[in-house]
Every structure is written in C-alpha cells, then in structure tokens.
Symmetry: C2
Subunit: 454 residues, 2 copies
C-alpha cells in the first residue's frame, strides 16, 4: 500500500507540466455563465478532456447551459464528482496583471480566471484519475462526473436536471468542489454550504437624467435607492427585513465546538486584506460563528455619471445587485417575498425586484464514514491534522444533491488563502495543487476500501 501511495504521488508529480498545459487550455476558453460567453465551446472542450482518457462523456441539455456528464468503470458502488466549468466574470479588467483568459505560469503559480474555481479542481481530479489508473489499473467501482455550467449564477437548471436524471446520477458518495489548504498547510473540510439567492433592485424615478441645477426638484434615483438600501441593514450588520431571522437556528453545541477548535486567523486576515476591523466589528468566537448566520451583501451598485470629472445631473435610474447567503431552514424564495414586502411597507413600491431561484443550505454528518475516509487521506497527504468546519460560508447546489441523491458529500480542492477566486489575478499555487491532486488520488484509491469496511 505504501509503495502504491508513493507511486501515485510520483505519477502526479512527473506529469504536473502536462496537467498545467491542460489547465491553461481549459482556462483560455472563456465560460462566463452570467454573460453567456463561450459556454457551449467550453462544455465541448470539457467533454473532450474526459473522452481523451477513456471516460464516456456526453454534453447534456438543460433549461440553461449544458451539463457535461461522464461515466467510467463498473462495479456495484459509485463515486460521484461534482464540478462546474463556468467561471465568474473577469471584471474589473484593469486590475489583472495578465489577461484573465490567457493562463500564465509565474513564480510557481498559474494565473487565470478559473485557475482555481473550478477549472483547476476539475483538472486536478482528472490528473488524480490518470494516476490511479496508471498505478492500480481499473478500480472496482464506477466514477461519475457531473460538471455543470451554471454554478456561478446559482445553478438554476440543476434541480430539474438531477430530478430528471436521478437514476443515471445515483451514487454512494459525492466529492464536491472547493476545499482549501491554509497557510500552515492544513486541509480544511467544510461539512456543508450556505444557501444563496441573488437579487437585483432597480429604480427609475423619471424618463431621463436632467440638469441638477435647473431640475433639482425632480426625483433622484440614486437617493431613492440609497434610502431603500438604508432600511435593509444597519451598521452592526443586522438585517432589518421583518421575518428574515425567523428560520435561523442558533448553532448546535457540536457546531460551536468545531468552530471553537479553529485557530484564529484574525491578525493574518487583517494583514492580508489590509483591514483594521471586520464587518460589524466582530472578533473571536462571534466572528467564527458568523458563518452560521445569513448575510445581505451588495455585490454592485450604480447610478448616473461614473466617468472622469463631474457631470451635473439628477440621475433617472439606479440599481444594485445583492446576494443573500442562507443557513439551513431558510427558504430562498421566502426571503425574496420578505424583501418585497419590506420594500412595499417602507414605501418603496417603485423599486423593481428581480430574483433568481436560489439554493438552500445543506449540511453533512461529520461522522459519516466517507467523511472520515477523506480526513484520513488528508492526514496522509498533508501530514497535518485537518481543520473541520460545520459549514462553508460559500454556496453551491449541495441541497439539490442531498435531497435527490441522498448521499454524503465532501469537499476536496486545490485552493489556498489569497488565491483570489472571483477576483482579479485568480491563481493556484502549483505545489498546493499537487497536494490536492494527491489527496484526490488517495480518495480514489481507498474508496472501494471504505465501502467494504462499512
């Protein structure tokens, strides 16, 4: 067994440049779901990457962007891998040191939009798959790849897709995207993810922008939006929408203990992000427990003139994008209803509300044997005790997979603090990517083992 683990490690290491070239090829194909850019081309490329290693791959239609589905191997048991080929928009472009869709290796890193989230993780799994096949030959179980194209826009088609193809997707366990290794080299496992719902608020107060001196008595859309937003959240980060916290449960004792066991990263984060305080002035255990609270985050905001110098207008329109992160029991559409009712009650019937369907939060049992397998593999690969968190602050369609497929889910990934996912200069550290790939290879190798054990 030890020899085979060493052989896996060696295989991954010897082929790292081939993997980086494959990753560069995938990153150089834009696939911005929120802008509809390059989606079909990227799905085809992903299917080709699967087929090139003997995985039966198919680009399957959904109500939105296609899912790439892959199947390999035979056996009674099945391991399902979840990834997505869509990426966040690259804006603001002027803050990238190299073009977002021209992957660049520099200082042991690879820079590109999607380098980590989630193309870097997809290529890591394919590299782990190659290593396991080279060392073990065929494995006594099935592997299924579910690679969607709408994760960054809240997976609007995934629920229908999984429900429709429930039998084909059935599995015994699922490896999710998105795990991180911290600055001390410890693997982090998060036992679930918050839900999320995106909304956009828009207001138009009059037909056109007008001269701000001659028509200063006409209604200003920017002020109107600001007054409306001011009723949503106070400076202590308390969300003021009636009913919003009704379904929020206090942390369980187990969750509190898991969070308390996490080492504080406050000073490191203050340095890294160049901040003097956290939102709401949180610190200590309260800061750790913030992950178990829902949020109301403005992602973007606009009105009137934003160019150089000044422009003396009263703007006629204004808008903003907001995401709400949700905790278990919160229903995304109920949150949207509460927001609409709140705006109406505050006299903002004129503010238009556009909402996506959203996802619910989902959590996994820390004692599941599959979770324990991944933790053991992490101890072997990273050489340090993993850090276990009761939930991720991020979101994904966990709930859909949990509900329809009824299986344990865990995170494996190649992120590190400062990898800047969703931001300019997103990148992976190649050494860290290698560790994540070895971790995945070991999970592949041991998956049949744990199924026998339980």
């Amino acid at each position: 067994m030890i020899d085979r683990i060493a052989a896996l490690d060696q295989y991954v290491g010897l082929h790292v440049q081939e993997s980086m070239q494959e990753l560069a090829r995938l990153c150089n194909q834009p696939s911005i779901s929120s802008q509809g850019l390059g989606m079909r081309e990227c799905a085809t490329l992903v299917a080709d990457l699967l087929r090139s290693r003997g995985i039966a791959a198919q680009v399957m239609g959904t109500g939105g962007y296609p899912v790439v589905f892959g199947e390999y191997g035979t056996g009674e048991r099945t391991l399902l891998l979840y990834n997505h080929y869509d990426v966040q928009p690259p804006e603001p472009l002027d803050q990238w040191d190299s073009p977002p869709f021209a992957a660049l290796q520099r200082d042991g890193k690879l820079f590109a939009r999607g380098a980590e989230d989630d193309k870097g993780e997809l290529i890591s799994r394919l590299a782990a798959f190659d290593a396991v096949r080279a060392v073990y030959g065929d494995l006594p179980y099935r592997i299924k790849f579910l690679i969607e194209g709408e994760e960054e826009i809240g997976s609007p088609s995934l629920n229908d897709f999984i429900r429709t193809h429930k039998d084909r997707l059935s599995a015994d366990a699922c490896v999710w995207e998105g795990a991180i290794t911290d600055d001390e080299g410890r693997f982090h496992m998060e036992l679930g993810a918050r839900g999320m719902v995106d909304v956009e608020l828009r207001v138009r107060t009059m037909r056109d922008d007008v001269h701000s001196g001659l028509y200063s008595y006409l209604p200003n859309a920017a002020w109107r939006l600001i007054w409306a937003l001011g009723t949503l959240k106070d400076q202590q980060e308390r969300i003021l929408i009636p009913g919003f916290y009704d379904d929020v449960r206090p942390p369980t004792t187990r969750q509190r203990e898991l969070l308390a066991a996490l080492s504080s990263q406050e000073e490191e984060e203050k340095t890294q992000h160049e901040i003097t305080r956290f939102a709401g002035d949180l610190s200590g255990q309260a800061l750790k427990e913030a992950v178990l609270l829902p949020t109301c985050t403005i992602n973007g905001l606009w009105s009137g003139y934003q160019g150089e110098g000044s422009k003396a207008i009263v703007p006629a329109s204004a808008g903003c994008k907001i995401d709400f992160r949700l905790v278990p029991e919160q229903d995304p559409q109920e949150v949207v209803r509460q927001l609409r009712a709140h705006l109406d009650a505050q006299g903002f019937q004129d503010i238009e509300l556009l909402a996506h369907p959203g996802t619910r939060a989902g959590v996994v049992d820390p004692d599941d044997p599959f979770v324990q397998l991944a933790l053991q593999a992490a101890r072997a690969v990273y050489g340090k005790e993993p850090v276990v968190s009761p939930i991720s602050g991020g979101s994904g369609p966990y709930d859909i997979v949990l509900e329809h497929l009824n299986l344990p889910i865990l995170d494996v990934g190649v992120a590190h603090p400062g990898c800047l996912i969703h931001a300019p200069n997103e990148h992976i550290r190649i050494d860290n990517w290698l560790l994540g790939t070895r971790h995945m290879a070991l999970i592949f190798a041991r998956f049949s083992q744990v199924l026998t054990d339980v």
Copy 2:
C-alpha cells in the same frame, strides 16, 4: 426704428442655414472640460469664428483651460458677453439617437452635445452681431467676448483670470448665457444663479474585492458608502449636515411675489418627465420656492460589479459624485468643511472627500435699467410678457463677475423646455434659436440707447 428691427429679423432669418452650419462645425469639435478632451482645438476654433467677423480675438492662458477673449468697436461704454465653449460629457452614449459630436438637423431641430449649452448661444450671439453690423454699421460702444472653457467644471480658473484682467474686462453691463423660452413662447429671465460645489466621496474598505460567501465578514465598501450617504439627507430632502442651513435666508417678499407670479408647470412637468411626484413631495408655492433653497444631489454612484448577470463579491471600493447648489450667503468651502466634519462625527473618517473650489450664488437688482431694456426687447421679439424669476436653479460664475466687475448681468439664450441640456439628445429648436438671436440683436441695437437714457 421699426424698419431697422424688421431688417434685423430679416437678416437673421435669411442667414439661418449659414448659422446652423457654423454651429454644427463648433459642436462637431468635442470640448469636454471634465475629461480634458478637445479643449485647445475648440478654443482655437472659437477664436477663428470671432476673427472671421473682424473681432480681435485672443486665446488667453489660465491656470486651466484657456479663455477666448474678443474685442470689437470703440466708444465710452462697453457690453460684455459671457459664454463658455466647454460642454458636459456625452455619456451615456447608448441613449443618443445620433452621435453627440456629429450635429444632425432633423424636424426643425439641431441635435448635438452643446447644441444649446453653450455653443448654440455663442453662435446665436455671433449671428446677432452680424445682423446688427449689417443693418446699423458700427455701433457707438465696445463689445467684449469672454468665452471660458471651464464652466461645466465649476469655472476654477475664472476668478483669477478676471481679477488679473479686471481692467481689460471692464464693462457697463454683461449678457450671461442660458435663458429659456417656455412652451407658451414666453421669455424667462432669471435674476441671478445659485452657487455650486462639486465633491466626490470615495471609500476603500480592504485591498481587493473578495468572494461574498467565503469572506462575507470582511467590510463591504458599498454598504459603508450607503450608510454614510444615508446620514446626509432624509427622504423629505432635508439636508442633515449640521450648520448647512445656517446661512440660508428665507425668501424676501419681492422674491416670493416674483415666484408666486410664475404660472404652475407642475402637470406639464409630470407629463414631460414621466413622474408622479416631485422630490420631497413638494407642490405649489413650496415647489416654486425650492429654487431659493440649497441642494445635495448625487450625480453618480458606483461600487463592485455592474455587468450582466451576477458576481458574488464583497466590493472593496465605492464612490459617488455629489453637487451642492448654494444660495446667497453660503460659502462653498464652508459647506465642504461642514460635510467633512459631519462625516467624521458620524464615524466615517475613512471616507475620502475630494472637493472643487466651487462658486457662490449671485443675484441682480430687478430694477436695473439694463434688466428693463432686455425685458422690453423680449416683449418686442416674443410678443408676450416675459417671466421673471428671482434666481436660476442652475449655477455659473456670476458671483465672480459681480464681485470684480461690479455691473448688472442678465440672461439671454436659446433654450426651450425639453432641449435636454446635460442629457442625451441635447438639441435646439431652430425657430426658438431664431427668436433668441433676434432678441440678442435688439439688445445690441438698443444698448447705446439705454446708456444715454440713464
């Protein structure tokens, strides 16, 4: 005298297409002071337009963009004409039906950025000058043209320029830019202008934008700006900055009477601007008196992601542009100090405040004989009783001219309601432009007369 008035009218009418070609040439030269675009080229073009009709013109340096100064004629008395060759930025470009810097005649209108404000008025004065010279020959007084390039950015260099060239600019009366004819064909005269100061607020809460799920506990610049702005003005349009109203005087009886005599345009404006209410729900006399109150207007607002679809980030930076319109006695730099002190007192020391020097309000005596001359000329040209307002809602460097040159100022112009100055599809109605030009020609013709009378 009647024959000569008819001859003036005829001359202007016969040469209207030449004037429109001259205006198109001037509009097609961009001159956006806030963006530094085409400024010197436009100053040169304006000087050429003056010289081509025998006016001694000079492009004179300032601390900023140059002033075009022109002189013509001899005599003891002098009439000073104030215009500006700079224009507002054309954005948003996608809302123009034709390109902003390619003047287009259509349906008896001319469309271009600057078609009215203020290139249309400058060309109108030159056309009136041509007519008067053709009909009267030389006039027994001097005419001076002061054409600046920084009106749309608050005339930061004009104070120094006028102080430096006080003797050269000396005059007995000044014709300002910017009068409007209403939908019933009545000339509007405004006896002064509000002051103005532009500020920009900027906040950066951390180094980079971050993932809104994983880092939802990092400080959000958009929220921070919204909370700060929420402390500046309430939904009743009351400005909450301590001390802001200290220097604001209630309207005088004369001002109240002038405003009361103005016919209500409420229903027309509601239709034109597609609104159901005015800012602060004002109506009647209170709406009319709003012009005698200072304002705090957001001109533009930005943070984070503004593109298509969603982007799950906590934005690191946010900003906005605000203009304050000021009434007599208010000092622009005192307002800036009050704003800074207020932000500090509210805990927003981290919000950066950038301010321009600003201008003070200026008012003119309604009983000045020069004002009366212009009103008589308006009765003759427009055939209706002019509308007299105690102050304009807009701003200009009135105060500088009043302080240094000590002369009466009045407005003459070619605007009409809906001419969309500062907005997409700015235009003049050519029939209205002709009336404004005839009005100016008659003022030229009668100026020596009124000086003899007084």
